[in-house]
Assembly symmetry: C2
Homo-oligomer: 308 residues x 2
């Protein structure tokens, strides 16, 4: 897989090696963890730690950092088909500048408001590297897991893929306003709730479509087949991609998109589409085994996140 | 105030200057924050970020780090008089060693189990400095705030003061087993719940008794008067303190003790004591104004935490 810039390569390679095995180890010990979020008595809980060197490229405003950090955790709540209720954020920085802190909190509050949740505060820490840890809470009596995909189902995604990969290109190109806009995605909480009656398995695309499909396949004991041309690719990807391979890498492998990847019976697609206020796209079919695109195997590559 | 070692001095001085004003700034924007934890529809939420250079001295085991990090957040739940339900922890370290991670999770799980909560997982992050962010959740329909102390009430503390200050001395002296034991305190969740019918104001002593009294005084518009000899001082403090002044600094100013500091009517003390399985000590009286010990003003000094 070709990814662009040390920023990507560093994180993809380093995290893949260590965190995946560490996470498998942890999941074995923790029965309530292991999906996008833990669910305890209907309460959905998920936490994420982000830091400057891998998550906030130069040019990321504190407003964007506040929005995006909290949004990443809210996306995990969305991926469970749960309502989002509240979020907190711990903010660590070398110095606590009033304007930066205000901007950060404004971003955190606004993204919570955008999904009907409340930002209820956090913690401050004098920390050598700008570091944010967010926790989002939600509610559901019937969480949507990764484990219900069945051959015969179709697999869909919300919105368009590659938005964060394009944002990184925009940062690299010095288009910081554009990049910050792209970085501030709206978590798919409303879509996740609306899909609850129809979807058989769901997660978010934060690890990239390819890895998401591998994870649903592993949890559901199934495979997937899709065509590259079926993927909904974000306009900004088309703009920044160097060629078709690059576009596919940005859309399917880079990840950090926070769209929902979900499966459902083919005959439920139209009803589900009518229930949502954002577009969904059928990208392929659930099969018995293997994950293939245009008939070729899709490697289990992407950005391994820590909440998998 | 005399505190020992750069480890302390650095954090006390640096945090005092920056975080307090930053936290005041944040509290103005966030009506649900500002006490030990936020409360939203009966759900108690609190988060903390800790990191190696200021929170985990050399010799702190990962088991202790997991226990103590989660315990710090559970203590904030306890301080609201709430039941603790669940906790998550995000773990950031330069490398993700299996044994360290297992030890960390074991500590986190055991402290949760000790207070009837469930450790439900977390996040992993490759991070230059060992950093932990914890979030604890609780439930209460009737949170105990800092704002209900009334002149005529008495002020009490649970357990004994100075345990963490003594732990730091033990780390400095190379008594690492002892230090780790002292560092793994049990959050006062059961006591907080049992005190709910009696206490008029409550918080934890994580900033030190002196600062806790100043914060309750500010929230309740009152004062306090206590005698130094009335303070319950941890045995380990007596052991490590150089002299009386040092002992008082360790017990009343250093903080990080995570005992409960609470006020209640004098005639409720015996009933409250009978309801608890741990000792409580009346240390002084609630007055109209000023905070004095043996008649002398008690400065608002200590360890300013980020959840104040």
């Amino acid at each position: 897989m070709a990814v662009d810039g040390e920023f990507f390569v560093g994180r993809v390679v380093r995290r893949d090696m260590d965190e995946r095995s560490a996470l498998r180890l942890l999941a074995a010990d923790l029965p309530d963890a292991g999906d996008d979020a833990a669910v305890v008595d209907g309460l959905v809980v998920t936490t994420d730690m982000l830091h400057e060197s891998t998550d906030f490229p130069a040019g990321t405003t504190r407003y964007t950092a506040g929005w995006r950090s909290v949004a990443a955790s809210l996306s995990d709540v969305a991926a469970m088909g749960a309502d989002a209720t509240a979020a907190v954020a711990a903010y660590g920085a070398p110095s606590l500048e009033e304007s930066e802190l205000r901007d950060f909190v404004r971003g955190a509050r606004e993204v919570c408001a955008a999904v009907g949740a409340e930002y209820v505060g956090g913690d401050l820490d004098t920390h050598e590297e700008f570091t944010v840890a967010t926790t989002a809470l939600g509610e559901t009596d019937n969480p949507l897991l990764r484990s219900g995909a069945t051959p015969g189902n179709v697999v869909c995604v919300t919105g368009a893929l590659g938005r964060s990969a394009a944002a990184l290109r925009a940062f690299e190109a010095g288009d910081c306003d554009r990049a910050n806009d792209l970085f501030r995605f709206t978590p798919r909480v409303a879509a996740g709730v609306a899909l609850r009656p129809y979807a058989t398995a769901m997660m978010d695309s934060s690890d990239g479509l390819a890895r998401s499909l591998h994870q649903i396949a592993e949890a559901s004991d199934c495979g997937f087949a899709f065509e590259w041309d079926a993927l909904p690719v974000h306009d900004a990807v088309t703009e920044y991609a160097r060629d078709t391979d690059d576009e596919r890498a940005m859309a399917a492998y880079f990840g950090e998109d926070f769209e929902l990847v979900f499966t459902l019976p083919a005959d439920a697609v139209d009803t589900a589409r009518d229930a949502l206020s954002i577009p969904i796209t059928v990208v392929g079919q659930v099969t018995d085994e293997q994950i293939v695109a245009n008939g070729d195997p899709v490697p289990d590559e992407g950005y391994t996140h820590a909440d998998d």
